[in-house]
Symmetry: C2
DNA sequence: CAGCTAACATACCAATTGGTATGTATAAGC
DNA sequence: GCTTATACATACCAATTGGTATGTTAGCTG
């Protein structure tokens, strides 16, 4: 069981994430954050030595979860099929599942939120973001190369940028979804990405 | 020739746009803005009655330019070919041209920047953003429907979400590009989008 | 050239900012 | 049962925030 302190820290992180996702990091003051939780300055600065440290801790947690989900989904996909192309399609499908049936637009991606106010953060914090994008890139590039070997694409194809497309789809869809307030945009764009992959490699 | 006042207002808007694109709206204070221009509070509040009005004016200008570019490119594409599919491909190609040969990542999209801190803005301001996304959606949906009529796609196809894909590609690519600091991501993702369109309708 | 207005500058304001210093209550460790 | 560390609360701080009130100056207009 988490200690009381750990639980409070988690509550602060949870609230911060929600607030930052719709007001931006600079748009959320420590005072607003703590008063939304019924806490005080003392509590906040006991758990985080500064607002910037909160930012770092928060994005680290977010990134860790994202990476974990990515690896889990990739592992699941690889168990469900031996064919690399099918693995990729299943992989995308697993993400589709997560975003199916949402009634509200997904609250957004914290990585993107941070990128939009990059200069607010130090290099360590920015690196955490890079690393997740790069992980997706390298893992999916490998997979795409396997696919290409087995199913040579008709036209020449850049595997890295095709891999980048995966994260790009999310980030783009989240923005449209939030602005237009339509929950299903993310799934739709994911489906198009999956469909593109299929068309690329289908004989 | 623009009057002195108009020119100063433009300088404020230009500086604000650059600063907001890498610090976020809430991350840019009026003081920082004016001191970067060597101006004073008096000057700023002479031209804008509040910081929020600056935000509104800025996004309106940005949106107007984006809409204009969109309409120009669409009109050019339609002049360059009679075939709706070719029109779409040319249209995308015209955007590719704009992002080719960049040495630095594109500074970002102000629409996305605002969406990331939505709650900072009033409804009028948010509507300006919606309108641009919706324009792209409706215009491109029409074009896609024309294409579908002439070149029936093999699988069933949602024209609206395919149209949304266009803006989505930009927004997603900008984020990756900025985070990874790679200038060519936007062109690459645009090419994939174009390629997808081709594959969808090529018999 | 008088009068007016646009285009600023200066000086101030209350409120909010992130952060600190110091207290205190509670629980764990020995 | 005494100590010590954890988990907060209270009270304060200088700096910065967006905004205002009041100048001043240059350029047009009649």
């Amino acid at each position: 069981m988490a200690s009381k302190g750990e639980e409070t820290q988690k509550r602060i992180l949870d609230a911060a994430q929600i607030m930052i996702l719709d007001r931006g990091y600079a748009g959320v003051s420590v005072d607003q954050l703590i008063s939304s939780l019924g806490l005080t300055k003392g509590a906040f600065f006991h758990h985080f030595k500064s607002k910037k440290m909160l930012a770092r801790t928060l994005i680290q947690r977010y990134s860790d979860e994202g990476v974990q989900l990515f690896k889990d989904n990739l592992a699941r996909a690889k168990k469900l099929s031996d064919d690399p192309l099918q693995q990729f399609l299943i992989f995308i499908g697993l993400y589709e599942e997560l975003f199916e049936g949402l009634t509200e637009p997904f609250p957004g991606c914290l990585l993107a939120s941070y990128v939009m106010e990059m200069q607010q953060f130090d290099e360590d914090t920015r690196n955490i973001i890079d690393i997740e994008f790069e992980l997706s890139r390298t893992e999916l590039t490998t997979l795409i190369n396997e696919i290409s070997k087995k199913y040579p694409p008709r036209t020449e194809l850049d595997p890295v940028s095709l891999a980048d497309g995966f994260m790009s789809v999310f980030e783009g869809a989240f923005i449209l979804s939030k602005s237009l307030h339509e929950a299903d945009i993310t799934v739709q764009q994911l489906r198009h990405y999956k469909n593109y992959i299929e068309l690329l490699f289908s004989r």
